[in-house]
């Protein structure tokens, strides 16, 4: 029903099909994979979708350089190898990369801060695509700007490639708190808030009518490395999780992948979380936030 409302707002005929697919991914895990072998492991472990990319965020962070859309050949190979939806990333504002992904027939496009931004001011106008987009957000204003541009799904930015969940927790907290604050607002206050967020007042009204929930699903990403991390962020309200480096940078990727899938489903059942967390081996090593300088933080990319 919320999908229908956002369709009315966007006047895009495919909009509810785009949020429709986002709804189908709820309560699931989307895993980053860099080759066919990993994609097959992810599918067998119960991933709802895979994100096809050349380097996981942890390696992008380590190796540096400009990070771009992956080679279409890699994406096509992965697409041919699995039956679940395949996603891929484009640089912020790089609508030509998005056009290429749409030509491949990708199922979902992530306009991602993990890649080097292509525009200093603009995100992709996502309403012009039939393919659904997911975008990252640190706060409600950012989430609503992306929805207003046509995003079918929002995820926290977190801090990708760190294996450190603190930023995802911060962003989920922030969005939840700001959504709750909307309840109190009426008339001129609401208009003022809409100006602050740089979105139409009508969008805020839709959110309020929707019991102060976003009109598209709200997932978590950025730093989720263990089953307990997935359970934590799910209990905070994330409807599904993206796991990047956390799985294939761990000692036993298959075991960790299965465990994160189960933890995402049974997020509020400690007895299941205990069982799946036992004996997983070494998790990815991770990075402390204090050791990353401000300009190295990926979450600050995007406007």
């Amino acid at each position: 029903m919320r999908a229908k409302r956002i369709s009315e707002l966007n006047k895009g005929e495919g909009m509810d099909l785009r949020t429709g697919l986002a709804n189908m991914l709820c309560n699931g895990v989307i895993m980053d994979v860099v080759n066919v072998e990993q994609a097959v492991i992810a599918e067998k472990a119960g991933a709802v979708a895979v994100m096809a990319l050349e380097r996981v965020p942890a390696d992008i962070r380590k190796e540096g350089g400009v990070a771009r859309m992956s080679d279409p050949l890699l994406i096509e190979e992965i697409k041919a190898a699995v039956s679940i939806p395949v996603m891929a990333k484009v640089r912020i504002g790089h609508f030509a990369e998005a056009q290429i992904l749409e030509a491949i027939g990708i199922d979902f496009i992530d306009e991602s801060e993990v890649l080097t931004p292509a525009s200093p001011t603009m995100h992709v106008n996502k309403k012009t695509f039939k393919t659904p987009f997911v975008c990252g957000a640190c706060n409600l204003g950012e989430a609503l700007r992306r929805i207003n541009e046509g995003a079918a799904l929002i995820r926290t930015k977190g801090e990708a490639g760190t294996g450190n969940i603190i930023e995802a927790v911060r962003h989920m907290d922030e969005i939840t708190r700001e959504l709750k604050e909307l309840q109190e607002l009426k008339g001129p206050e609401l208009e003022k808030k809409a100006r602050e967020y740089r979105v139409p007042t009508e969008l805020l009204e839709i959110v309020i009518e929707n019991n102060c929930k976003l009109p598209v699903p709200n997932f978590a990403a950025g730093g989720i490395a263990t089953p307990a991390d997935a359970a934590l962020i799910r209990q905070m309200g994330a409807e599904a999780v993206f796991v990047g480096s956390g799985i294939f940078k761990s000692e036993h990727p298959e075991k960790v992948a299965r465990a994160v899938v189960e933890a995402t489903t049974h997020f509020d059942r400690p007895e299941v979380l205990l069982e799946v967390s036992r004996g997983l081996g070494k998790a990815m090593s991770g990075i402390e936030m204090e050791t990353i300088s401000e300009h190295e933080k990926l979450a600050s990319r995007g406007w």
């Binding site: 029903m1 229908k4 189908m24 309560n27 699931g28 679940i84 939806p85 899938v261 059942r269």
Partner: protein
């Protein structure tokens, strides 16, 4: 009267809203105890391969098969794939409780997802339907009734107390298919 919604993965909460609107309570099912508190069960849309994996890991697989033998169950898209006796493209295990063949992602990728209005004997006016990476379903025996078609393909099937749809109505405001399923409980 309580309808369970298998909540291992997929599009769950929208069904709660529809059943609430129809005056029926619902319960999210993730474990055996919850399953047997329900008079009927919805297998929702989502990813069938994920749900299959989670059914097995939660030791729910054989219990859901047993549930299907006696109580009303409605499988939607991925849920219909779970009910099917035979699954192709690619081949996949299933509960094998309904005489239908499900061909996964038969229309293509997300770009081939579409909206349609479908007609059928059980509706007076066309039903708005979302086909999202939908399977194609075919009856495998004369025990199965085709209740609605779209462009020559059956999209809604019934076999006794089992219902399978390849499309979604839970993303719309139309609760007629939910109401039709609830009638199974009264008969």
């Amino acid at each position: 009267m309580q309808v369970g919604i298998l909540a291992l993965q997929g599009c769950v909460t929208q069904h709660v809203d529809h059943f609430t609107k129809l005056g029926c309570s619902s319960l999210l099912v993730r474990k055996s105890d919850d399953l047997w508190k329900c008079d009927a069960l919805v297998l929702p849309g989502g990813e069938s391969s994920t749900m299959l994996h989670l059914l097995q890991r939660a030791n729910l697989f054989s219990e859901v098969v047993e549930f299907c033998s006696s109580r009303p169950v409605w499988g939607i898209c991925a849920g219909a794939i779970l009910l099917a006796k035979k699954v192709s493209h690619p081949e996949q295990d299933s509960l094998e409780v309904m005489d239908i063949h499900a061909e996964r992602n038969a229309y293509g990728s997300q770009l081939d997802s579409f909206k349609a209005e479908i007609t059928g004997q059980i509706f007076n006016t066309p039903l708005p339907a979302d086909f999202i990476r939908a399977p194609k379903l075919k009856a495998l025996s004369d025990q199965v009734m085709c209740l609605a078609q779209y462009e020559g393909d059956g999209v809604l099937f019934r076999q006794g107390h089992l219902l399978a749809s390849s499309f979604h109505t839970e993303l719309t405001d139309d609760s007629r298919l939910h109401a039709y399923f609830l009638e199974f409980l009264r008969s």
